[in-house]
Amino acid sequence: MSRLVKKYMRKRNRGKKDSPKENEKAGNRQAYEMEELEKMPVSDRLAENLDILKGVLGHNSDVVFRTFRIGLADRAEAVVVYVDGMIEKKIISAEIIKPLMLESRMAGMDCQKEQLLDLVENSGITASEVKSTAFMGDVIAGVLYGDAALLIDGLGTGLAIDVKGWQTRSIEEPPSEVLVRGPREGFTETLRTNITLIRRKLRSPDLFFRDIQVGRKTNTSVTIAYINGLADSSLVAEVISRISRIDIDGILESSYLEEFIEDSPYSPFPQILHTERPDKVAAALLEGRVAILTDGTPVALVAPAPFITFMQSPEDYYERYFLSTAIRWVRYTAFVISLVLPSLYIAITTFHQEMIPTRLLISLAAAREGVPFPALVEALLMEFTFEALREAGIRLPRAVGQAVSIVGALVIGQAAIQANIVSPLMVIVVAVTGIASFMNPAFNIALTMRLLRFPMMLLAGTLGLFGVMTGILAILIHLAGLRSFGVPYMDSISPFHPGDMKDVAIRAPWWAMDRRPADISSKNRRRQSSGLKPAPPDPGGNKG
């Protein structure tokens, strides 16, 4: 915390030096620089402390100062400072004010000023989490994160009492990652809740959470989760150093972090997996990966994320493995289709008509007879319409959204063909491509495919199959050179790890997937003892 506050203040000071006059003007509102506050000790005299606090926070309508006299040490004056709405008022009144004001008096406790701190902290306040600090900066930071600050006259120490309690969304199933079978809970916007959701799945002392504060203005808590002993310590250190490097005014979503910490910022391919599912995060942690949780967003990041992790859905592991294997292959095929199908159609109908079987060619020629455009223009037109419909469908309210789909189906599907603007086959191609791109469990890599489809179509329209293949080759070269936190992006496939094929080429049954991915957890690869394959009991000890 303190390091970040310092950084924040350094930047502020730099700005202030440039415009001293402005500083003076603002002086009334904020009498103290944060740098001073950081080093400024909590004063013995309450009035002094209050002056400072009111100077920094007093202009805010949601900051409450509650002054009272405690029943100890000659009725010393005390003040509780908190931000209304971020705290649980009942706790403040019942656990802080009531014991100090009334119960201490009734219990007949009294003391000298020297014993006051000990008595208040250990015998007075009944709230569960109390931190004492000697610096004003910590007091203010605590107040802004939902603590109640308690300052007592005659004490050179401030107490930050955890009374956090704000309105949160309840735990729901994430709408973008719905499963038929599997847990139905998803992350929320509150960091603590999310950490709890993971902790409840992995009840191991090896599960580590490390906190970093990012954002000069937002002071967002970012938590790095990993399993000690499974995640490479160098990987954890790398993640921490990449996040600590960030110096930005605010982190509002984990995508801010993602763009700061990925390996190749110019790549269209996502190099970090994101998910709202605690079970997916827990599975990743068990493979030796590192999860990054950001306060204020339900989206957690998982790294390293080679290409193949974007193809795997948690449901693969919850359904029977035959089915999961088959579905995986459908998914791989759909992935390729979503990239190349329109460009293949353009290339073949424009340059390589000989590849089309004669009968199909005749019907294709008949269908395209009245269409005035070349296949490339036709495809671009349809793809653009499809993308527009898709985008409109997301933005519009649900009731209007249906109207859009009717317009899309009727106008685009039917009228465009009857008006001879596009051929029926083109509509099929675009529709199949669209469905294929929805099959991907990771939304961000499907977006990449959507984007790359257009240059591929242009290549196909100019150079035919040769163009398509050079496009694929260029993508493959790019993928072969890409890395996700040092792990090759095409890991398991190239460099090839035969053991990983159990979770790439097929989804092997759990009793056969006895090792973790080779390049993710190189130290500790075994995840179960061997010979766990189930078998019916031996009847009566007879062999055969």
Binding site: L463, A474, I477, M490, S494, P495
Partner: protein, 368 residues
């Protein structure tokens, strides 16, 4: 260090297979059959064995100097000036070979799918891709290769299987009709192209993560690649017969064109063209990588990457200038290439091996 990447011995094996298939997959059948006629498949068997000797020779030399490229250890063995000359020969050979493959590439595409497009267009696209891959280092080249090669081998096997209905065994009879001489002549062609060309791997195996396995990896790749070439030649002969095979420029393409399954899968030769784009890319990449790395080491540069762009332009320009027409190309390939390629492919490494053994150089003694 000029190249930070490390590749595994398996990756080298796969690269060797791609390199051998590279341009040979389309050109070899007619080249071998032109002298060996229906016995071209026997020539292939002979040349696979002889080709391993070529590979074994230069691999042994490289094994004596682990972690060093041909250009680096040639100076150690032959002294400053002669060594420089040897390195220069190897570097020139890689540039020349790369240009020839680029040219083959352009010729082939102009003759088949891009008839109305100037040859420089596909050639420059492929050189750009090669330069892009080479800039990223040998590690990336090895990985790209590994992503592609399984599909290529699968494709070759599928095409072999689909050709079975067209095959007739009487087309390769009688065996050894004209004696041994034409068969040997045919096998020499294959030793020169592609086996002698594999000497460029002396620029790649120094980056193995386990240097001791280099020779085994190369020989394995040589055998596997040779076996695939053998099947391609055999298939072409069985489907077309020797006379047609010799007459056609790209007989493999013709055999694929003949595939017709239920009137639905037909005229799929474009897929072979695609395969050739991938394999040709790998072969040109190995040549190009050897060229820029060799040049950088000759000039004592710290990094080869600044050379990539000018070297790419150079290779592209040379590929356009190297032949006047296709007849010249065929003449060069059939008459001149074998002795020409043998100099860096066999004679130079053999001489250097002898000198190294006599002078007692090298960290590891070779067997024998």
């Amino acid at each position: 260090m000029m190249e930070n990447g490390k590749i595994s011995s398996k990756q080298v094996t796969w690269m060797m297979i791609s390199f051998l298939l590279g341009s040979s997959i389309l050109l070899i059948p007619s080249a071998v059959a032109s002298s060996a006629k229906q016995d071209a498949w026997v020539s292939m068997l002979i040349s696979i064995v002889a080709g391993q000797a070529v590979i074994y020779n230069f691999a042994s030399l490289s094994m004596m100097f682990p972690g060093k490229t041909f250009v680096q250890y040639s100076r150690e063995i032959l002294g400053k000036y002669l060594g420089m000359l040897a390195g220069l020969i190897m570097t020139w050979f890689s540039l020349h070979l790369g240009s020839l493959v680029v040219r083959n590439f352009g010729d082939f595409l102009s003759a088949t799918v891009l008839q109305h497009t100037p040859m420089i267009v596909p050639d420059s696209i492929i050189v750009i891709l090669v330069a892009m891959g080479t800039r990223m280092g040998v590690e990336v080249l090895a990985r790209v290769n590994k992503l592609i090669i399984p599909f290529m081998i699968l494709l070759i096997l599928i095409i072999f299987a689909l050709g079975i209905p067209e095959m007739e065994f009487k087309r390769i009879l009688p065996v050894m009709e004209n004696g041994v001489r034409p068969v040997i002549a045919g096998s020499l062609v294959v030793i020169g192209f592609p086996y002698a060309e594999t000497v460029l791997f002396t620029m790649i195996i120094p980056f193995l993560n386990s240097p001791g396995k280099g020779r085994k990896a190369l020989v394995t790749g040589g055998l596997a690649g040779g076996a695939l070439l053998f099947f391609i030649v055999l298939r072409t002969l069985l489907v077309l017969g020797p006379a047609t095979t010799v007459r056609l420029w790209f007989p493999v393409l013709e055999t694929v064109r003949m595939i017709d399954i239920f009137n639905i899968i037909q005229r799929i030769e474009s897929i072979v063209i695609i395969a050739w784009i991938f394999l040709g890319f790998m072969k040109i990449s190995v040549c190009f990588y050897s060229f820029v790395l060799g040049l950088a080491q000759l000039l004592n540069l710290k990094d080869y990457r600044p050379l990539v762009l000018p070297a790419g332009v150079l290779m592209l320009a040379l590929s356009q200038l190297v032949y006047e027409n296709y007849v010249e190309e065929t003449y060069f390939a059939s008459q001149i290439w074998f002795p020409y390629a043998m100099v860096p492919g066999l004679i130079l490494p053999l001489t250097m091996l002898a000198v190294a053994v006599i002078r007692g150089l090298g960290g590891k003694k070779t067997e024998k």
